[in-house]
């Protein structure tokens, strides 16, 4: 376990290094000048040059990246060009909200998706099954912005069950999590269905029935843990997909997470923030995959960490 972790952590660090290098290079190649964004409309060319020099953006790429890497090692993500705050501070202040949303969303999608998949698998071939599978497709195909606004309109404005956007209590969390979750639920429902159908065919399910176990015990104790393994592996991938959706959902619900931060930074070419958020999200993805791999042996003892 420990050696395995050590190896994985090392690999993860390499991946993060790679991500930082590629991102930095891409941003360097971007045909948009961050300094002109900072300087704004009335700045004189001299002002622009001054700012460029101050930020070290007149240096060659390698030097810039080296400097970035060095300060990164000392835990410094730099200072935002536009917001002028420490990137670390900006990210730290917004990360909890995003993590909360992520947890909420993953819970939602697992809850909805797995339930749908489970029911569909058990009722395989029936109308229920077909309806659920069409529903899962709707989930995958619906634009999140529209879903979010619809939920907001119906449940917050019309019915008043939840607050209209904002952050704070669990009631604020429900609608954004649901919006995020609907997309993933579609994926999980399909995966769960096929893996459950597979498992229900297995001999050990028949053994369980032969022992006279109740249906619930068979489904939840015997079938589910076996069927859920591919789903767990998917959660790692899912975090990556999540990072894409977070931008839209956070902005619809006024959720103070890093998605909005990233979005604004991209719009304004605020390179330190883009770098920071990229690294954080890469970290989350790497961590998610690592966790999925670490959890797997607990679900299926046959799997060895290697």
């Amino acid at each position: 376990m420990i050696p395995y972790l050590g190896r994985r952590v090392m690999q993860s660090l390499l991946i993060l290094l790679g991500v930082s290098l590629i991102t930095f290079a891409l941003l360097y190649l971007l045909p948009a000048d961050p300094v002109r964004q900072i300087a704004g409309r009335s700045a004189t060319p001299q002002t622009v040059e001054n700012i460029r020099r101050q930020l070290g953006l007149d240096q060659p790429f390698v030097v810039q990246y080296w400097h970035y890497l060095m300060s990164l090692l000392s835990g410094d993500l730099g200072r935002s060009y536009i917001q002028r705050s420490e990137v670390t501070e900006l990210i730290v202040s917004r990360l909890p909200a995003s993590l909360l949303l992520m947890v909420g969303a993953i819970l939602c999608e697992l809850l909805i998706g797995l339930t749908m998949g489970l029911i569909a698998a058990v009722k395989r071939g029936t109308t229920t099954d077909q309806t659920l599978m069409v529903a899962s497709f709707v989930g995958v195909s619906a634009p999140q912005f529209v879903v979010g606004l619809l939920l907001l309109y119906v449940f917050a404005v019309r019915l008043g069950w939840f607050p209209i956007g904002g952050y704070g209590t669990w009631r604020h969390l429900v609608l954004p999590s649901l919006t995020m979750g609907i997309l993933g639920a579609g994926w999980y429902a399909r995966m769960m269905r096929s893996s459950m159908i597979d498992v229900l065919r297995q001999d050990y399910v028949r053994t369980a029935r032969a022992k006279g176990l109740a249906r619930g015990a068979i489904l939840f104790r015997h079938a589910l843990p076996n069927a859920i393994l591919p789903v767990v592996a998917m959660i790692g991938i899912d975090i990556g997909i999540f990072m894409g959706g977070i931008v839209v959902v956070e902005s619809v619900f006024g959720w103070p997470g890093i998605g909005q931060l990233a979005w604004q930074a991209i719009q304004r070419v605020d390179i330190p923030i883009i770098m920071g958020v990229t690294l954080v999200s890469a970290f989350a993805i790497v961590l998610g995959n690592l966790l999925a791999d670490i959890v797997a042996p607990f679900i299926d003892p046959r799997i060895k960490l290697r």
Partner: protein
């Protein structure tokens, strides 16, 4: 001191929402429309404008004196003005403030505004620190010496970059001063939760007695405009800072109750299409004129739900120097075609139209595209992120045509010169500049300099005329096709009080925080 609104009630709190983060509240750095007016409430400058108007008035300065040659400005400071930290503001602070803004280390985007002060060049080049042109005569008198007469100097003393900051606080917080702003303004910062909320509370020691009216302003950040409007309709907030979203505009205007809470006003804004005068075929004035005639401005205004008025010249109507008599180019397809034929393009030509990618700009670009197609010009649209459009515009061979919307000119200060220098003058026609039509007319540059040396406030009318002439001449060369001047539609909650012009204040967007009040207190 101005009179205070006698109907105003004291106290109460309001909530304003914004979609984007508030960047920084450091007056030397903050330079977007959102923090612009917030900074104005936290800090004060030597000069200011009468609320709801574009009329200059002394602010921290009690009075000022302009030498006859227009090169020396002496300001007498108000006594007993205190920073939020309790210390009294003096002339040293004024000098410190301007020195700081012009110091390259500060990275202020507004440093260039102070270019006329003596010693600026040395400071900008990093040779010295501190402008030789600013002298502290006594704690309540400060003198500015300029290298040339500058009629806009009083406006410069009113823009945020010159708002006075206390040295000790700046040094205490260093680069984080923008997160811990301390000024002399009507409000002081009470709370800043990154990404969520900023709270201003009333400055009880504000030198302008009776102001501000509100005890507290809460800015909620990260709210989608549509959601903000829903919340306004439910009475949860008072001002949606990003305005009425287009998708909801008609719903609001169709409801008399809601419509009554919408204040309409002009804005120091012009939306225009630039044509790169160094690039064929736009190097031919006839082609540029043809484009001016091809665009159906009424249709475009209709597209954006009539939230603008068609424009015919660079200056917006509420700007001094606006030429009411100027008729501009009419929408005339036949004539446009004829001009194109004269220019040697009877069958039109192919070109590109750049535009920023946020609604409604792509739509407007498509409308322009269709209008151009009607005269034979096939323009393909490049709808890009703001930064990319700006980059393309600053490259001489980058963009033949740019629709300016979304990045368009909102004046820094209400003066006709502000529409010339960086965006139409030779100074801006450099790589990385903002003169996207690369129009450089040395003659006009000279005329502009001449107009700006008319410093005497008494001759303001004369100066405005000079500027009108300049812009008329520009329109003859037609580097731009002005399209419309955006109107402001500010919506407020029913409890908000104060004159309407406070809600469409030309220099405070969305509203003038210092002077508005709420009706439901006491």
């Amino acid at each position: 001191e101005d009179a205070v609104d006698p109907n105003a009630k004291q106290g109460g709190a309001i909530t304003v929402t914004y979609k984007d983060d508030v960047a920084t509240l450091d007056p030397a750095i903050g330079y977007d429309w959102q923090n612009w007016s917030m900074i104005k409430s936290l800090f004060d400058g030597l000069m200011d404008y009468e609320p709801g108007t574009t009329n200059l008035k002394p602010d921290l300065a009690e009075s000022y004196e302009i030498a006859p040659d227009g090169k020396t400005f002496t300001f007498k400071l108000r006594h007993g003005v205190k920073f939020h930290n309790g210390r009294e503001m003096t002339a040293d602070d004024v000098k410190y403030t301007i020195d700081r803004v012009t110091n390259p280390k500060t990275q202020s985007p507004g440093a260039g505004f102070f270019g006329s002060i003596k010693g600026y060049d040395d400071v900008a080049a990093g040779k010295t620190e501190g402008l030789s042109g600013i002298t502290v005569v006594d704690p309540y008198t400060v003198k500015f010496e300029l290298t040339r007469p500058d009629a806009t100097f009083l406006h410069v003393m009113a823009i945020n970059f010159s708002h006075v900051v206390p040295k000790e606080e700046v040094e205490k917080y260093g680069a984080d001063f923008g997160k811990h702003p301390v000024g002399t303004g009507a409000f002081k910062l009470a709370e800043w939760t990154l990404g969520q909320r900023i709270v201003f509370e009333r400055n009880p020691d504000y030198w302008h007695k009776g102001l501000p009216h509100l005890d507290k302003i809460t800015f909620e950040i990260g709210q989608e405009p549509i959601v903000a409007l829903l919340r306004l309709q439910k009475g949860e907030i008072d001002i949606p800072g990003d305005g009425i979203p287009p998708a909801k505009f008609q719903e609001v205007m169709a409801d008399p109750e809601q419509k009554a809470r919408v204040v309409v006003g002009g804005q120091l804004h012009t939306g225009y299409v630039t044509m790169n005068t160094t690039m064929a075929p736009f190097d031919n004035v006839k082609v540029r004129q043809a484009v001016n005639m091809a665009i159906n401005k009424d249709r475009i205004v209709q597209l954006i739900n009539n939230r603008a008025v068609p424009a015919n010249q660079p200056l917006p109507p509420s700007m001094p120097g606006y030429d009411k008599a100027f008729k501009g180019y009419p929408h005339d397809v036949a004539k446009a075609k004829a001009l194109l034929a004269e220019a040697g393009h009877p069958d039109g030509f192919e070109t590109q139209l750049f535009a920023m990618n946020t609604d409604p700009n792509p739509r407007i670009a498509q409308a322009i595209q269709q209008d151009l197609a009607a005269v034979g010009i096939k323009a393909s649209i490049q709808s890009l992120a703001q930064a990319n459009v700006i980059a393309a515009g600053g490259d001489k061979a980058g963009a033949p045509m740019i629709w300016s919307g979304g990045m368009a000119w909102i004046a820094d200060f209400p003066d006709p010169s502000n529409f010339y220098g960086p965006i139409l003058g030779c100074a801006g026609a450099v790589p990385g500049g903002w003169n996207w039509s690369w129009y450089c007319n040395k003659d006009l540059d000279a005329k502009a300099a001449e107009a700006d040396s008319v410093v005497d406030p008494a001759k303001a009318g004369e100066r405005d005329k000079m500027w009108s002439a300049i812009y008329d001449k520009i329109m003859a060369d037609a580097p731009w096709a002005p399209v419309f001047n955006e109107q402001r539609f500010t919506m407020k909650s029913a409890r908000m009080g104060g004159a309407d012009n406070l809600y469409v204040d030309p220099v405070h967007i969305p509203i003038n925080y210092d002077n508005v009040y709420v009706n439901d207190v006491q």
